[in-house]
Symmetry: C2
Subunit: 369 residues, 2 copies
């Protein structure tokens, strides 16, 4: 099997767990945060910087790479790892989420989704078979089934029909998938309905995927509702398979996700807010672009070991951001990614030492949303 999950330690009081993910491109400690490299690059970063900060798996987007530069070109280059010179793990999403986000530009049938490219308006088609074919060409270690992310809010009837179709699509993806060196994960949907989440898990698990993602959360619902869905859904998943919560990456949600037994996370949040001049600290967000940091010659976080904090002051970073210098975005991105990657490492250590609840209590006592 291309990807295997090894359970190392379970928290005695919560669902939290520490493990290892074995992939063709290395073994990675879980829980893990995966930086997002939408277009075969984590925005503003080099692969060497990612490695240096401890990144293990990165995520890339099938939808974007399918349109530009095209999966055939990536395959010709020797696959995505070689194309972007990243020898760590890669996970590609199926393109489903992006295609469904196009709104009026797309049309869904049982066969698949017809849509117009956001780049040139050209007519395109993705189906379970096509999305799998594209992902096989890209060659990530982990690929995702083509699904519909149930929008929020959605009525029960729509959510049920959509989730049932997602399961039929997952089965078709499985049928189309032939690469032994890649793992195809199923995606649990079901909207905000527990019965549908249960149905989705049951149907997907019967197809026996090597890993399961939870999709359709963090789509605008209140956080407590997301946590409720996790509390209901995660325990239904097989204990010996990795669990991936899609699109989640703020510190508070990461702590709660881990609490409920999630192993893998991804989110554009840390890199996107970095480019807007917001950095993450254990005390919450710091808008380093703000005037109050004009003459602040301290690092972003004096306890942080990242390249940015070891070498540059808030005043310098603010200057770079105010003058729209690229190096400013690089420094804030490095810090935010390092912060989240090491935040996960700390959680893992707490799980291993069976003090995760204490870690969580300390986190919440400091964190300001």
């Amino acid at each position: 099997m291309a990807v295997q999950y090894e359970l190392i330690k379970r928290c005695s009081k919560t669902g939290a767990r520490a493990g290892r993910l074995h992939t063709p491109h290395g073994t990675f400690d879980t829980p893990i945060f995966m930086p997002v490299g939408t277009q075969a690059t984590v925005k503003a970063m080099s692969p060497h910087e990612l490695k240096e900060m401890g990144a293990g798996i990165i995520l890339s987007n099938t939808y974007h790479l399918y349109l530009r530069p095209g999966h055939e070109l990536v395959a010709e280059a020797g696959g995505l790892h070689k194309f972007m010179n990243w020898d760590g793990g890669i996970l590609t999403d199926s393109g489903g989420f992006q295609v469904f986000s196009l709104g009026p530009l797309r049309k869904i049938t049982e066969e698949g989704v017809t849509f117009r490219s956001h780049i040139d308006g050209s007519k395109q088609f993705l189906s379970p078979e096509r999305a799998t074919e594209v992902q096989m060409a890209l060659g990530a270690d982990i690929i995702m089934a083509f699904d519909e992310c149930v929008p929020y809010p959605a009525d029960h009837d729509y959510a049920r029909k959509s989730t049932e179709r997602t399961t039929r699509w997952a089965e078709r993806c499985k049928g189309a998938h032939t690469r032994a060196d890649q793992a195809l994960f199923g995606i649990v949907q079901g909207g905000m309905y527990k019965d549908l989440r249960s149905m989705s898990v049951r149907d997907l698990v019967s197809l026996d995927f090597p890993g399961y993602a939870i999709g359709g959360l963090s789509v605008g619902e209140p956080k407590d509702l997301m946590y409720e869905m996790l509390e209901h859904t995660v325990p239904l998943l097989p204990v010996n398979k990795p669990r991936y919560l899609m699109g989640v990456g703020t510190p508070d949600c990461l702590v709660e996700g881990v609490l409920h037994g999630i192993d893998m996370f991804d989110c554009v949040f840390p890199t996107r807010v970095a480019r807007n001049g917001t950095v993450m600290t254990h005390q919450g967000r710091l808008v380093v672009k703000n005037a109050e940091y004009t003459r602040d010659f301290r690092p972003i976080d004096s306890d942080c070991g990242c390249y940015t904090c070891r070498n540059f002051s808030r005043a310098y970073i603010r200057h770079l951001l105010k003058t729209e210098e690229i190096f400013g975005l690089r420094l804030t991105t490095i810090h935010n990614l390092y912060f989240l990657i090491h935040f996960m490492k700390k959680m893992r250590q707490a799980i291993i030492e069976d003090r995760f609840l204490e870690f969580r209590a300390e986190f919440w006592s400091q964190y300001q949303k």
Copy 2:
């Protein structure tokens, strides 16, 4: 003396020379190309990348830093080296060139130049004393006298009056300059008139600066005219002082500049064209953004030892540029700076081995403008 030039080897057939520049932040081999870091950052680069590619001295702009973040703030940070975390050499220009480029937004008197900030339109004033004070606060190893860059074309009368004023200003700069750990260079002007160039050199040399720049070239005149001016001017300069040709940085002009005895160069050209997708090779420019490189999986230059060429293909770099990814600009910038820095090293080696004319002949046989 803060900065000293050590002559190592003179070409037996041309004016070319190899030397060393001793500064408070290190000793640097000449001839040297200095990357431009206008706003206390070489666009898209980290100081560590600059060091890794062999950069010795970088240039920063008084005009820009004076307006943002302000020289007092930089001084508070401990000076420019500390502010931007660069422990190599720094040269600041005086702001004269930028202020004069503002056109109708500035007014010149004997006292100095009144101008409006290009950022917020605020009224500002720079004079020889003020430009020197600002540069002392910034704390570069080499600072420049406040001059007027004679525009091209200019009539003889205007060029003479302007050049005479530049000399009077140079004397005032010298009077205002009190930092023993920095060297103040004079700037030779004189437009495209040999008699005025002679006059400018004679007057400046009588003030005994530790180094001399040649300004007012590469301002739109034909290249042959620039070379003619160099041929006339450089031999008039003292042999034991460094000579800096301002704003020149294309390979052809670098070869001809070195031929005539120039030791130092700076130019935004390699970094600016990099961000537009043009890279430099020994065969001339390559527009890596062009469609012909879509499926070209070779490096930009297979003989190049830069980070970009060691790790990434033309096809990948083109993809990054087409999708407007920051990492694309980083890769082209790294390549172009590495190219020029190592181009200078090769010229220096040729001078030391007394085969500079052969180097030049080989260069011109390959180079396409």
